[in-house]
Structure formats: structure tokens, C-alpha cells
């Protein structure tokens, strides 16, 4: 288990310029009972940066995403997105309730889940239309057009009216990506989005994500086990273990010549499959 | 309240009768459940069909109707039983029919993989059932059996309508002679409630004792709450 002393500040390579960061985590900690999921994390992400987070299960990687998406509350620390405060929790303070500020800031973030979480009673296109209509107040026609374009983009133009049970896992995940994209988020979070898929379906989903990485300037955070993919599309890779960022750097460095022993050990175990 | 204290002995006698019905009824119901449940799973048509008919008939009619029929109509066909016996038999048949479906369901859901393993190991069908399938299925049956048991308890009150001197009957008698309506019925309700809570605790204890593995899939909450077409006292217990 790495000690807090080993932790590095997972800041962007360029000198930090406070308000320039898209995402900042300052001294964020989170515990579940005795389990310290995150320990005093400092983490910054620049706009348009594509960051992959790797590491063993239970290392806290998913928690970072979930705190950003307000699915979990930090025990302590400050989290900002696009200059706006999302979380500001002092140690021992009672969990803050959802504020208007939080709701507005959250709109800039989108998330794709490991279990897809599509709405099973709605068709693919209805899934993608739902949030723009209900949240952005878009007209049904406009939302329909946009949804159609997005589903075409992810290669599901033929499946607009199919309900999730009729789609394969890979197709469902692509609908999930289109659904998140419909809200035009500035930040996209991908939480092990291919882990629940059959191997032959993974490629199509990765193609879509690669497309997003190369052709948009969204800030993207990916928690993933797909090491080759992470190496290919990331600007920066962060290695997590037991709630601490133990190493970070450009993909070539992390994957080919890591400094930290834990990183080496982890990569050896994972890449030897 | 003083009325209750005065008539406590009578209520106590009624309670004893209720408990007798509960114990005898559930013991017999268990036998019925496994007989009918396993019968329904049999490969032999001659066993399957009577079992199925028995189960559907007793689930499809309400217990009070069955009680009346067994007490008033059956003697006219030559079979006359004392009221208490009628009570026990009908309780067992009715609740046994519901429990039979629980037995059948629990075993069937385990059947496929386990049966194949037995075939591969060369274990014959009868042994397969007895030593492998049934013991495994019992922990799964317990929660639903618990509901059936509490249902059985509540249904014992119905025998009062065919003049069995159970708790409810005694309560009604006391009410008629004293007019202490509220006190009597409150007492009855509280006693039944306490009994059902105790039964519930007992079942929870048994479930824990017989649990095979802790990592089984969490049961749907709806499945816990609902009983498939329950017997005549408004469904499952606490």
C-alpha cells in the first residue's frame, strides 16, 4: 500500500494557472468507513486535455469520476469545474445538500457508465432526446434531429427506434455515448465503459471514443483497462493505487518507462495477459 | 380491560386451540407441500396431473369456502370429520398447495445445472433429488415458507366460522355475553400480531442458520413482498 508520502500532485505538465484549469481537485479525501478511498488528492486537468486514469480495482479511480458527476460526496476538499465551484467540503463538515450552483455546474459534465444505464422503456432515439428536451428546453423536432445526427455519428443510424433490450452491449454503449453528447458537455467522463462488453464488441465503442478524442475539444477523463487504447489517445496518463496518484506523465513514458515500482508491477500484471 | 382478565382462562383455551391448529396444520402442510410439489415435477404424467389439479383447486378457491365445503358438504358424501380435524386438514391442504409451488419453484430453479452434474457423475434420479437437489433448495424456500406460516396462523381464525373453539371463537363468545366489544377485539388483534411477529423472528433465525452462501444474488424486493396468489387472509404476513 502506498503511503501518502508517495503521492504526487497530478497536475498538468504546464505551470498551473488557476482559472485556466477545466477541472481542479484540491486536497480531496473520501473514506468509506475505515477504507480511505481517496487521500488528499490534488488533481488538475486542462481544457481539451484527454486524461486516462489507470490502476488496480478499488484504487479510487472511479470515485474521482463519481465525485465529479456528484454521484458521491467528497469527505473533504474542493472541486471546481470550468472555474465554478462544484464541491467545497471542510473536514468533518456535514454533507452539503445539492445547491443550485452544483446543478448548473454539473450540466457541463457528461458521463458514460460501465453498465450503460440506458432507459429500457425508451427507444435509442428517445434515450438521446430525453435530456435535451427536459433540461435544455429544446423542441421535440430539434431534439429529434440532433439525436438522429448523434446516433448516425456513432454508427447506429439504422437502430433509431430500437429499445435497449434489442441492442447488443456495444450498441447500447454507443447509444449511451450519444445520449451524453446530446447535452454538449465540456467534460466527458468514461467509467470503464468497455469492461462489461464482449471482446468483439469493444472495438466499435473504442472507435467512437477515439473519434471524440481526435475531433472534439472536450475535456475527457477515462478510467480504463484498455492500455493500448489509453496509450493511443491520451495526452496524459495517471496511475492510481489505494487512493493515491502514484505517477503520471505522457503515455509513452508511463507505459514504456515508468519510474514508480507500483506502476511497473501493475503494468506487468495487466499487459502480460 | 377487567372483562378480559375475568375471561382470560377462556381466551387462553382458545389460544391453545389456535396453537394446536398452527402446529398440526403446518406440519401436515409441509408434507403436502413436498408431496404435491415434487409430484408436480415428476416425469410421470399420472403423478403430475393429480398434483397440478390439487394445487390449482386449493389455490383457486378461498379457504373459508373450502372449510365450509369440507364441514357441511363432505358429510353428505359420506366423509364426516369433527370440526377440528376439518380445520387441520383444510389448513394443511390450502397452505400446502401454496407451499408446493414454492418447493417446485425452488427446485426447478436449481435443477438444470445440478442435474447435469449428477448425470455426469452417474448419480441416479431418485438419489439426485434426495441428496443433491432438495437439500440445496431448502434455504431458498425458507423465506417464502415463512410467509406461508404466518398466513397459516392468520387463517386459523377462519375455523371459528365452523364452530372450532379457537381464539377468535372464544373472543366472539365473550363479546356476545359481555358486550365488551372494543376490549375483546383489541386483545384478539394484539395476540395475533404478537404471534405473527414471533413466527417472523423464528423464520429469520432459521434462514440464517440454513443459509448456504452469503453471496447469492439479492432477491428482488418485489418478490419478497408479493406472494403468488395468496390464501384467504389478505396475503402474506408481516
Amino acid at each position: 500500500m502506498p503511503s501518502p508520502a508517495e503521492s504526487i500532485d497530478a497536475e498538468s505538465p504546464e505551470p498551473a494557472n488557476g482559472s485556466d484549469e477545466m477541472i481542479t481537485f484540491e486536497n480531496v479525501s473520501k473514506s468509506w468507513g475505515d477504507n480511505k478511498v481517496l487521500q488528499g488528492l490534488n488533481f488538475h486537468v486542462k481544457p481539451a486535455e484527454k486524461v486516462s486514469i489507470i490502476g488496480p480495482s478499488g484504487s479510487g479511480k472511479t470515485t474521482i469520476l463519481r465525485i465529479l458527476m456528484t454521484l458521491e460526496t467528497p469527505g473533504e476538499g474542493v472541486v471546481t469545474v470550468d472555474g465554478d465551484e462544484l464541491w467545497n467540503v471542510a473536514a468533518g463538515q456535514r454533507i452539503p445538500r445539492e445547491t443550485k450552483q452544483m446543478r448548473l455546474t454539473r450540466r457541463k459534465i457528461g458521463m458514460v457508465f460501465q453498465q450503460f444505464n440506458l432507459f429500457p422503456h425508451l427507444s435509442a432515439i428517445q434515450n438521446v432526446m430525453e435530456a435535451p428536451v427536459q433540461v435544455l428546453g429544446m423542441s421535440k423536432d430539434e431534439a429529434h434531429e440532433r439525436a438522429k445526427d448523434l446516433l448516425d455519428m456513432v454508427g447506429l443510424g439504422e437502430h433509431l427506434n430500437h429499445k435497449p433490450p434489442k441492442l447488443s452491449g456495444g450498441q447500447q454503449q454507443r447509444v449511451a455515448i450519444a445520449r451524453a453528447m446530446a447535452m454538449r458537455p465540456k467534460v466527458m467522463l468514461f467509467d470503464e465503459v468497455t469492461s462489461a462488453l464482449d471482446p468483439e464488441l469493444v472495438g466499435d465503442v473504442l472507435d467512437v471514443i477515439r473519434d471524440l478524442a481526435t475531433s472534439t475539444d472536450m475535456t475527457m477523463l477515462l478510467v480504463t483497462h484498455e492500455m493500448r487504447f489509453a496509450e493511443e489517445i491520451s495526452d496524459r496518463v495517471v496511475m492510481f493505487d489505494s487512493g493515491i496518484a502514484v505517477e503520471q506523465g505522457p503515455p509513452k513514458k508511463i507505459f514504456k518507462q515508468p519510474d514508480n515500482d507500483r506502476t511497473k508491477k501493475f503494468l506487468r500484471a495487466v499487459l502480460e495477459h | 380491560m377487567s372483562t378480559i382478565i375475568t375471561y382470560a382462562p377462556l381466551l387462553w383455551q382458545g389460544l391453545l386451540v389456535t396453537l394446536e391448529l398452527l402446529v398440526l396444520g403446518s406440519a401436515l402442510a409441509l408434507v403436502v407441500a413436498f408431496t404435491a410439489g415434487l409430484g408436480r415435477l415428476s416425469r410421470h404424467w399420472a403423478l403430475r396431473t393429480p398434483a397440478a389439479i390439487f394445487i390449482e383447486v386449493f389455490r383457486g378457491t378461498s379457504m373459508i369456502v373450502q372449510l365450509f365445503w369440507a364441514y357441511y358438504a363432505l358429510p353428505l358424501l359420506g366423509v364426516e370429520l369433527p370440526a377440528f380435524a376439518v380445520g387441520v386438514v383444510v389448513l394443511a391442504a390450502n397452505e400446502g398447495a401454496y407451499a408446493a409451488e414454492i418447493v417446485r419453484g425452488a427446485i426447478q430453479s436449481r435443477a438444470a445445472g445440478q442435474t447435469e452434474a449428477c448425470v455426469a457423475l452417474g448419480i441416479p434420479p431418485a438419489k439426485r433429488m434426495r441428496r443433491i437437489l432438495i437439500p440445496q433448495s431448502i434455504p431458498a424456500m425458507l423465506p417464502s415458507f415463512g410467509n406461508v406460516l404466518i398466513d397459516l396462523l392468520k387463517n386459523t381464525s377462519l375455523v371459528a366460522t365452523i364452530t372450532v373453539l379457537d381464539l377468535t371463537f372464544q373472543g366472539l363468545t365473550i363479546r356476545t355475553s359481555t358486550g365488551a366489544t372494543t376490549a375483546v377485539f383489541t386483545t384478539l388483534l394484539v395476540v395475533y400480531f404478537i404471534l405473527s411477529v414471533l413466527l417472523g423472528q423464528m423464520m429469520k433465525f432459521l434462514e440464517r442458520r440454513f443459509a448456504i452462501d452469503r453471496t447469492s444474488k439479492p432477491r428482488s424486493k418485489l418478490a419478497k413482498v408479493m406472494r403468488p396468489q395468496s390464501a384467504s387472509t389478505g396475503g402474506s404476513g408481516v
Partner: protein, 218 residues
């Protein structure tokens, strides 16, 4: 004494009228149970201090005591407090209140059974409270709840026979009346059993089919 078909046919009209009362009572009772159960479920969900706990206890108590005793209690106690109603109305209320304890649980379990991921997806999409409930959660919960409620409806249909004990002129009571006045019990009670089967068995099959259809089209 053996079966007398002529006699059986002669009492059939009266018994069918009794069956009609049973069916009416069932419809009225289930309506009460559905509405009252919903109110109870909502209050428990909102976790209002004291009141929600009271309702939780009320649900446990009603589910843990026999319907027959509840019926007698209502039938005898209410007039003492100045509330006079027909036996039928009393019976409907008793059955309605009794089953509301079960429907309340069904509503609660139905909501809790909706996959947690659905809630997380609505958070990720910033979907506000009302559409989350009305467009995402409830449609899914309702699909699961309906077959269960259907089964409770059938159960209530059978339980209405218990109301014969408080002189409601439903099917069983009618048979008892015929039996005691004509001194013939075999035909009336057997027909009662057959009529119950004739309604509940097809109904059960319909509910099972409905369950399968609702599950598939999700």
C-alpha cells in the same frame, strides 16, 4: 345424499346474484386499496417524522392480523361509536384497508426495484426531479407493479368470501342461506367452489400472460 342436478340448476340464479355482489365488492375494495396504499406509500417515502413511522407500524399490524378478526372488529365496534353502515360497505372498507397495507408495500418495493443505475443516469444528464420520476422511474416501476397488483386483485376476490361472516350477501353467504333453509349443502357449496375456480383460474392465467408481456416489451 347424492348430487341433484335439477336442484343445482334451480339455485344457480341466486348464487350468480351472490357472485355479482362478490365482484362488486372486489372492485370497490381494490379501488380503495390502490388509492389508500399509494397515500401510505408516499407518506412513508417522504419520511415525515412520527407520521411515517406510524404508517409503517400500521402496515405491519394490518398484515400481521387476520382479515376475519379485522372484519368482526369493524362490524361490531363502529356502530358503538355512532358510525352505522351497511354490512356490505363495512366489508368493502375492511377489505380495502387491509389490502392497502399490501399495495403500499408493492409500491415501495416496485420503486426500490428500479435499477440504481437509472437514477445515476438521470443525475449524469441533469434531469430534474419531476421528469426523472414521471418519465424514467415510474414507467419502469409500474411495469413491474401491475402483475403483482393483478394477483392481489384475484386474492381479494377470494377473500371477500370471509365477509360472509359479517352477513354481507356475497356468494358464500348466499350459499349458506340456501343451505340452511333448504337443508341441502352439497350443491350450493360445490357450485360456490366451482364458480370461484371459474373466475380465479382464468384470471390467474391472464395475469401471468400480462406479466410476460410487460417484461418483454421493456
Amino acid at each position: 345424499m347424492t348430487w341433484d342436478t335439477e336442484y343445482a340448476l334451480s339455485i344457480l340464479p341466486r348464487l350468480l346474484r351472490g357472485l355479482l355482489v362478490t365482484i362488486e365488492a372486489t372492485f370497490a375494495g381494490i379501488a380503495i386499496a390502490l388509492v389508500l396504499g399509494l397515500i401510505v406509500a408516499v407518506i412513508r417515502y417522504l419520511r415525515i417524522p412520527i407520521i411515517s413511522h406510524l404508517f409503517t407500524f400500521y402496515v405491519s399490524f394490518v398484515r400481521g392480523t387476520p382479515l376475519l378478526v379485522q372484519a368482526f372488529a369493524a362490524f361490531f365496534i363502529l356502530p358503538d361509536y355512532g358510525i352505522t353502515m351497511s354490512a356490505l360497505l363495512t366489508g368493502i372498507l375492511v377489505v380495502g384497508v387491509n389490502y392497502s397495507a399490501y399495495t403500499a408495500e408493492v409500491y415501495r418495493a416496485g420503486i426500490e426495484d428500479v435499477d440504481k443505475g437509472q437514477w445515476e443516469a438521470t443525475t449524469a444528464l441533469s434531469l430534474p426531479g419531476r421528469p426523472t420520476w414521471t418519465r424514467i422511474i415510474l414507467p419502469q416501476a409500474v411495469r413491474k407493479i401491475i402483475p403483482v397488483l393483478g394477483n392481489y386483485w384475484i386474492q381479494m376476490f377470494k377473500d371477500v368470501a370471509i365477509l360472509s361472516a359479517i352477513t354481507v350477501s356475497e356468494l358464500l353467504y348466499t350459499a349458506q342461506t340456501i343451505g340452511s333453509s333448504d337443508y341441502r349443502y352439497l350443491e350450493p357449496l360445490t357450485i360456490v367452489g366451482l364458480l370461484y375456480l371459474a373466475v380465479s383460474y382464468p384470471a390467474a392465467i391472464i395475469v401471468r400472460r400480462l406479466e410476460r408481456r410487460l417484461a418483454f416489451s421493456r
